[in-house]
């Protein structure tokens, strides 16, 4: 399963909630404001690391660049729109609004 998250972890509990439903082998993809979770050095980084101990986390690089997210937390994999398409082709998708 691919879980997409497009809300900021600083203002919404969306990523936390999505992660609770991610089984082993499930993948989380951060897009739009969700990519703010992929910054290194933020208050949210420990929670992200905890999630990455169980699930692969990807972030949509175009959205990160648009938000000037300079430094990416270690372990987050970057994809472009082509990579996003590949992830959807590989997994059924659930969007966490």
């Amino acid at each position: 399963m691919l879980h997409t998250v497009n809300k900021s972890p600083f203002t919404h509990n969306t990523l936390t909630e999505a992660a609770r439903f991610a089984t082993k082998g499930s993948v989380i993809l951060l897009i739009e404001d969700g990519t703010l979770a992929a910054r290194s050095g933020s208050k949210h980084e420990p929670a992200l690391k905890e999630i990455m101990s169980r699930n692969d986390v990807y972030a949509l690089e175009p959205d990160m660049k648009a938000r000037g997210v300079g430094s990416v937390a270690e372990g987050v994999k970057l994809v472009d729109y082509d990579g996003f398409v590949d992830l959807v082709a590989q997994h059924k998708t659930n969007t966490w609004l």
């Binding site: 399963m1 509990n13 909630e17 609770r20 439903f21 991610a22 089984t23 499930s26 059924k92 998708t93 659930n94 969007t95 966490w96 609004l97």
Partner: protein, 134 residues
């Protein structure tokens, strides 16, 4: 096999029955999402798909009894959930942690639901043809 009356053969029809899960995470009234989501469920039920509804997070509040919307001037829709049974939508699950965090108990809900762990819901999710979030 088509019997000439325009009815589609049963077997062929069955191939078009898909497992579809609705993930309901929106509180009622503040946004229209939970109401418009329910509209979709009813349509897909009329198409006789194999539906599951899962209520997570604030989505649980959409099911709470005694919603009196007269004073906000909005038409309530809690009664519409009662129709789900007629449409044979019977797999209606509530996430236990979401329920407990909100201080809710199964008796608070207007319809029969089954409380499930996140792991159980996640396992059912993996088994779907498609997931629709509202």
């Amino acid at each position: 096999m088509n019997d000439g009356t325009g009815n589609v053969d049963e077997t062929e029809n069955d191939q078009n029955v898909k497992k579809i899960m609705f993930v309901m995470r929106s509180a009622p009234h503040g946004t229209i999402y939970s109401y418009e989501g329910l509209e979709t469920v009813l349509i897909m039920a009329a198409f006789e798909q194999d539906l599951t509804m899962v209520f997570i997070g604030d989505g649980l509040f959409a099911l709470v009894k005694d919603q009196m919307t007269d004073d906000i001037g909005i038409k309530g829709f809690i009664k519409t959930y009662g129709v789900l049974d007629d449409y044979e939508v019977e797999k209606i699950y509530v996430d236990r942690i979401s329920m407990e965090e909100r201080g809710l108990v199964p008796e608070d809900f207007a319809i029969d639901i089954e409380v499930k762990e996140a792991e159980e819901i996640a396992a059912i999710m993996e088994n779907q043809h498609a997931i629709i979030p509202y």
